[in-house]
């Protein structure tokens, strides 16, 4: 008897376009393969998806809830709407909420020009914020030898936590508090420089989409992030 293959190709539509998905592919992965651009902020290719930022929310026909494309598996016969005027408004609102929650001052940020929040705001047409700014003072932790964590610029995407856990295996970063009081922490809330688990590898800094985790000594717009994860995944795929 020939071995029965469990590999199954699924067909679905995204914005009316017929697309194919292999098993375990998410809606986001399928969309990107087909050049359908769904905006994301917390998603990082190579890390597990968490659906934290909600920018990739899509409509699926027959489901009365919006679903995050980055963690929703493509299914046979799905009819996905990734772009609609209403989804666009929701995405703009998410960017506005992020801009009001902490202190994102592009003019004095080391990551200006290399910041995913800044470029998403432009891409989605957020040219001003209609909600009141909270102006809450967060701490900045400069205790690490090489890096600074400025929580005033954090968007709680948890990329730092995931890369530290899933790739580096140190799990120095975690999250404390709930809702608007959530904060990224190192170890049990100790200063980063006192962390016993941090290996100083800098992967968290590399994947931070904004100016929250940066190298010391950078001036405005000087902080560029190396794109090392695709290389790492490629090397792992080759068994090296």
């Amino acid at each position: 008897m020939p071995e029965i293959s469990h590999y199954q190709v699924k067909t679905l539509t995204i914005d009316g376009k017929e697309v194919c998905a292999s098993e375990h592919q998410t809606i986001l992965e399928v969309a990107r393969e087909n050049n359908i651009d769904i905006p994301t902020l917390c998603y990082f290719n190579g890390l597990n998806g968490v659906g934290a930022c909600r920018l990739c929310l899509v409509e699926v026909k027959g489901n009365n809830k919006l679903l995050p494309a980055c963690v929703t598996q493509a299914q046979e016969g799905m009819e996905v709407t990734a772009h609609s005027p209403q989804l666009h408004e929701y995405r703009k609102l998410i960017i506005e909420l992020l801009l009001t929650e902490r202190s994102h001052v592009c003019a004095v940020c080391v990551s200006s020009g290399h910041c995913e929040l800044q470029s998403l705001a432009q891409k989605l047409g957020v040219n001003h914020v209609t909600l009141p700014y909270l102006h809450e003072q967060c701490k900045a932790d400069g205790s690490h030898r090489h890096f600074v964590a400025d929580h005033n610029r954090c968007v709680l995407c948890t990329r730092c936590m995931r890369v530290c856990d899933e790739i580096e295996g140190a799990h120095t970063w975690d999250i404390t508090g709930r809702g608007i009081r959530s904060r990224m922490i190192t170890d049990m809330g100790e200063p980063w420089g006192d962390s016993e688990t941090c290996t100083n590898c800098g992967k968290c800094v590399s994947v931070c989409p904004v100016g929250a985790l940066v190298e010391k000594g950078k001036a405005v717009a000087e902080m560029t992030k190396p794109n090392f994860l695709p290389y790492l995944i490629q090397m792992r795929g080759k068994g090296q």
Binding site: A121, N127, Q137
Partner: protein, 177 residues
Amino acid sequence: MDKARIATLWLDGCSGCHMSLLDIDERLLDIASAIELVFSPLVDNKEFPENVDLTLVEGALANEEDIEKIKMVRARTKLLVALGDCAVTGNVPAMRNNFVLADVLHRGYVDNATANCGPPVHEVPQLEPKVIPLHELVAVDLFVPGCPPSADLIFFVLSEVLAGRIPDLSTRSHFGN
């Protein structure tokens, strides 16, 4: 054809947006022939006139005088443009909002002062507790983010408005520099 009546206003900002306006360079000559600059830090008029077609406003609202000015300017302007990040978001001037105003004044005028200690109370407008962008107080017709908006962007805005169009800046401008 009547020339467009244009004004510019400088509130709580660094004047960088006005510098960027001047950086339009020789193209200013093209604009100058089509407009009448009726009020600006760059001209000598003391009173903000009535019936202004377009006002470019640089800076956030930070003190009681800014508040009075913007209300008056709004009432006398057809198209009010928030020019630059301070007018659009509060930007650097609004960074003091993370602190209590009294502490900020104390830091500047007592902790770090060596003479005449204490915040000024005469002849300068009193600061508001919070710095706000223009649209939190008055209606804004066009947002031009940037710190500063580039000379090319400002030229584009002026050219479009003079041609009777509201410019679409979605792909041309972003927060920061």
